[in-house]
């Protein structure tokens, strides 16, 4: 278990998140993929804090903050999705077609 392993794990997760973000048609599915990406970043923080950083506490703290901020973001996102659902009766990303050039 080296720093490198953790970092690789993180970016593999990130890439999986990216893949999900691009393939998912369900909006909540896309949000889930984003969660994966954020999680990957958190792993990075903790890994760096553990292996490398002079100020280890700060890194871990950052990821705690990230968790809180993500929670806020998700709350707003889900609220928006609900309004969206009320209007469109669907959460299919392909139905988002009113706004374009």
């Amino acid at each position: 278990m080296t720093l490198l392993n953790c970092l690789i794990l993180a970016f593999v997760l990130f890439a999986i998140g990216v893949f999900g973000l691009l393939t998912r048609r369900h909006l909540v599915g896309m949000l889930i993929s984003i969660e994966l990406m954020l999680n990957a970043a958190n792993i990075n923080f903790v890994a760096f804090a553990h292996f490398k950083a002079a100020d280890a506490t700060a890194g871990s703290l950052f990821s705690i903050f990230v968790i809180a901020i993500t929670a806020c973001e998700m709350a707003v996102a889900l609220a928006i999705l609900i309004t969206m659902y009320r209007r469109h009766k669907s959460l299919d990303v392909n139905r988002l077609e009113d706004l374009h050039d």
Binding site: L21, E97, H100, D101
Partner: protein, 648 residues
């Protein structure tokens, strides 16, 4: 005397004053007042000019610059001035121009009597007189060019005086554009020469010795050559200006067409004064041109060819003014080749040519001016230019008849009329130059001249009246007076002025050797006179013998091809038309516009197209599809990883 000289600019200013007053105030108010004012100014100018001339020639005829001011600074001491040069040549021209202007002004009172816009006519006539005077008194070549252009413009406006006549308008345009075309070479030559010599002054130019310039290289763009060669080219280019203005072949076509203008205009501008400006230019720069290689040979060849060419055409024309126009061309050719023939085969200069040419300018001015006035008088009475409609005017217009006879004899070169003396000297020059062909041409032309002039004379005045108007013709006082007055110098100017010309009209110090011993052929006057008499007799045979069938003689349709070709002026109008219309307009100008509209235009449009397409691309990316946006964003990160120039 100094005060006489120092106020000599008044000669110039009086016509200008007349132009300004007439043009701005009088021309709309009163035609009579404008005529009177114009005549007054012209008269005063003529009187002043004659008194200056008297004073000048009685006081040894030393060239002086009476006055000058700095017109345009060039660099350092190299300035373009406007000044007043008094030397024999310019004083002679002053007298000629002012007096002819005076007579023509008087004549115009009668001629333009019925024209509603005669005020404008007098104004323009005064403008012309001013410009012409400015030209002849020029102290330097730039001043000459300035007035040269002004003369061209006033000629343009006077030819197109009846601007409602399309033919007059197109003739005026043709005249202006052709001379302007020639002038652009003049300007080029002037720029070139003044660059090499660092001066515009005639004095400086005439003092140029090409040997001094042989070692200086001068880049002419296409090639680098010694400045002496460049100066020769410059001299030739300057001559091109005179070539156009004096309507030498092949730029002659504008002059016959210019006869569309009122006849007084033809008389002053297109016979007596403006068209000799080309000759005057060569005469003015004679020492320079004489020194400048073979320039004078070009002058000679051009002049001689034009002389015979125009004379041949004149023999077949029926339009009275056109005959006179071709006659003018022919006479101008005489003057030109006389100047040109001054240069002998060995490169030395025979000063007689200069004398003869200037002398011919002088004499020709009077009789040719008068002939035009006569033509105008006839046209005014007969209401047509066509000789077909004239005939038998001898009885109706006796004074005119006699005066015309004098003029015709003068131009034909019958002693003791004025033309004889000058033409004699010209032929002598040609003979002495050793160019036999030129001499023969001159001699032949002299015979042809006598023929066509008397053809005109007989057809107009003898025989029976061939039209209604002719039968009721009468003489108009205002028009006859100048004719009669001009008959006097036509008769006498040769005799009286011969000595003055022989002694005073010799070019100043020449940069090349003058010819010392030349063959003096005493038979030449007889040969010339004989040719003239022969021409008169042939004319009389065809047109004046009692049984002559005038109608048949005037019929063109049944003539041979050669006659028709000559009658159509060798189709030069058509050639000109083809060159201008087809080549310049349809060719050069159309392709320039094609380049502009299609190539430049499509470049601009292509740029716009690319911008628009790029804009469309940006906007098409906004297709509203969220996964696509996300994809673009992530690809964007990868894109910047590679493109962002970060030191990764």
């Amino acid at each position: 005397m100094t005060s006489l000289y120092s106020y000599s600019f008044l000669i110039l200013l009086l016509p200008l004053l007349s132009f300004a007053v007439n043009g701005l105030f009088l021309c709309r108010k009163s035609r009579k007042a404008s005529a009177a004012f114009s005549v007054l100014c012209a008269g005063l100018a003529a009187a002043y000019a004659i008194s200056v001339a008297l004073a000048f020639f009685t006081n040894g005829a030393t060239p002086t610059v009476a006055w000058q001011f700095r017109f345009l600074p060039i660099v350092g001491d190299f300035n373009a001035n406007i000044g007043l040069l008094l030397d024999p040549l310019s004083v002679m021209m002053l007298v000629v121009v002012t007096s002819i202007a005076f007579f023509v002004n008087i004549y115009s009172i009668g001629y333009m009597r019925e024209d509603m816009s005669s005020g404008r006519f007098f104004a323009l006539l005064s403008l012309f007189a001013f410009s012409m005077l400015g030209l002849v008194i020029a102290t330097n070549i730039l001043q000459m060019f300035v007035f040269w252009e002004l003369v061209g413009v006033s000629s343009y406006m006077l030819i197109g005086f009846w601007y409602h006549k399309p033919s007059a308008v197109s003739a005026s345009k043709q005249a202006f554009i052709l001379t302007r075309f020639a002038d652009s070479f003049f300007l080029l030559g002037m720029v070139l020469v003044s660059y090499a010599v660092k001066s515009f002054d005639f004095a400086a130019l005439n003092a140029v010795n090409l040997k001094d310039f042989a070692s200086i290289p001068l880049n002419l763009g296409i090639m680098v050559m010694p400045a002496s060669d460049a100066l020769t080219i410059g001299a030739a280019l300057i001559f091109v200006g005179g070539w156009g203005k004096s309507a030498m072949f092949p730029m002659h076509i504008w002059l016959p067409n210019a006869m569309e203008g009122p006849t007084p205009v033809s008389s002053i501008i297109h016979s007596a004064t403006m068209v000799v400006a080309g000759v005057y230019l060569v005469a003015r720069l004679f020492p320079f041109m004489a020194g400048a290689g073979n320039t004078l040979c070009i002058v000679m060849v051009v002049g001689a060819f034009t002389a015979i060419f125009a004379a041949v055409i004149a023999c077949t024309q029926k339009d009275i003014k056109r005959i006179l126009a071709y006659s003018t061309l022919s006479q101008l050719g005489y003057m030109m080749f006389s100047l040109g023939a001054s240069r002998l085969c060995d490169g030395s200069i025979n000063t007689l040519g200069y004398t003869a040419s200037t002398f011919h300018i002088f004499t020709h001015a009077f009789f040719k001016c008068m002939l035009f006035l006569v033509a105008g008088s006839l046209i005014h009475q007969v209401h047509t230019n066509d000789l077909d409609a004239m005939g038998g005017l001898r009885k109706k217009m006796p004074f005119t008849y006699i005066a015309t006879l004098i003029a015709c004899l003068a131009i034909a070169g019958i002693p003791p009329f004025s033309g004889f003396f000058s033409k004699d000297e010209i032929l002598m020059t040609a003979f002495q130059s050793g160019h036999v062909a030129v001499f023969a041409t001159g001699l032949l032309t002299s015979g042809l001249t006598a023929f066509y002039m008397f053809r005109l004379f007989f057809l107009a005045f003898h025989g029976k009246a061939r039209s209604e108007h002719t039968a009721h013709a009468h003489e108009d006082f205002a028009m006859t007076l100048p004719i009669v007055c001009l008959a006097v110098p036509s008769l006498l100017s040769g005799l009286l002025a011969k000595n003055i010309f022989a002694t005073k009209f010799v070019p100043g110090a020449l940069p090349v050797a003058t010819a010392e011993h030349l063959a003096h052929a005493t038979w030449i006057p007889y040969a010339a006179g004989g040719m003239a008499v022969l021409g008169i007799l042939i004319a009389a045979l065809f047109y004046a013998r009692p049984k002559a069938n005038i109608e048949r003689a005037l019929d063109v349709d049944n003539r041979c091809k050669l006659y028709k070709t000559i009658n159509h002026k060798f189709y030069f109008d058509e050639i000109y038309y083809a060159v201008v219309r087809q080549f310049i307009f349809r060719g050069v100008a159309a392709s320039a516009r094609f380049v502009e509209d299609w190539i430049i235009g499509s470049l601009v449009n292509a740029t716009l197209f690319v911008v628009r397409k790029a804009g469309a691309l940006v906007r098409e990316a906004e297709n509203g599809y969220l996964p696509f946006y996300v994809g673009v964003m992530i690809v964007g990160v990868i894109f910047w990883y590679f493109v962002g120039k970060l030191p990764l």
